[in-house]
Subunit: 148 residues, 2 copies
DNA sequence: CTTGCTTCTACAGTCGCTGTAGAAATTAGA
DNA sequence: TCTAATTTCTACAGCGACTGTAGAAGCAAG
């Protein structure tokens, strides 16, 4: 007995919002589901599992594009997994870069906050350091940061 | 002798792209500049400094909204800097949360990659773990992640 | 039978830009 | 001085990954 789900139940079960499910369908991440006579979508267990997969991958920060690739792979279990490996490695590198950038920001923010003695803005490190550093620090740094 | 800049020179000097400068003007982050007869924008040193300020703050991950507040503060050096402190602290907390999330992702990605023996997708950890974990791990985790 | 929830479609809005088109102004080179 | 290349102008569309809106229709419970 195949369990069936309305879009709301699929959303509840998978943790992907109703509107987001429809969005995934519209961009081709989810296949078009069967409809009941009135036009409402009906999902099976496989679709709900797929939604869980998508959600987990999104939580991991994979783009919709990358997830499309992962789904393709998953649908052809015979192909070799070099592509999946590449996707994951690429994503790991990006994640590590991002962590590194955020760490720089973290320490700069901490420095700014420490420097704020609670007086007037005119002498506030938080404001003035943004101005001062905008002249010297920016260059090499923002190059790195611009890569997102 | 006040130096004057075309939008292109202001862009070059501040590191903010021409189109982005116009965008900042359109959203009210930059004041409307003086124009020459033909309608082209002319900037003074103060505007270029402000662009540098904005860029640095954006590099630090402050939203345009937060930067608007910071500019207001900076223009009233007499007010006390509790607001700047609050903005910076709030932003620090967000940054630290984000680092923590990314670290979780990093370790999961590393685990996935380690588990990939280079065989076929059917037995590839990278793909299967996305499916398996989508059922159990998701809940408490994505709550945290959804906060961005 | 009514009330209130869910679902439907289609489209606009979010954020922080980036890119496009087509016109006018300016600059650099021959 | 003429021409060609570059810069600037405005106005608007597009990006990613959704979220929210409006208005209509379906459906379940009291």
């Amino acid at each position: 007995m195949q369990k069936e789900f309305t879009i709301g139940q699929a959303a509840e079960t998978s943790g992907v919002k109703v509107t987001t499910i429809r969005y995934y369908e519209s961009v081709g991440l989810m296949p078009e589901p069967r409809r009941v006579e009135s036009g409402r979508r009906v999902y099976g267990q496989a679709s709900v599992d797929l939604l869980g997969f998508i959600r987990h991958a999104r939580d991991l920060g994979f783009t919709v594009e990358a997830i499309r690739d992962l789904i393709d792979l998953q649908e052809n279990p015979g192909t070799d997994c070099a592509k999946a490996d590449e996707l994951a490695r690429h994503h790991l590198v990006e994640t590590q870069k991002r962590i590194e950038q955020l760490r720089v920001l973290e320490s700069e923010l901490m420095r700014m906050i420490d420097g704020c003695a609670g007086g007037k803005v005119g002498s506030c490190e938080i404001v003035t350091s943004l101005f001062d550093h905008s002249k010297c620090l920016s260059d090499h740094k923002s190059k790195a940061l611009k890569e997102q």
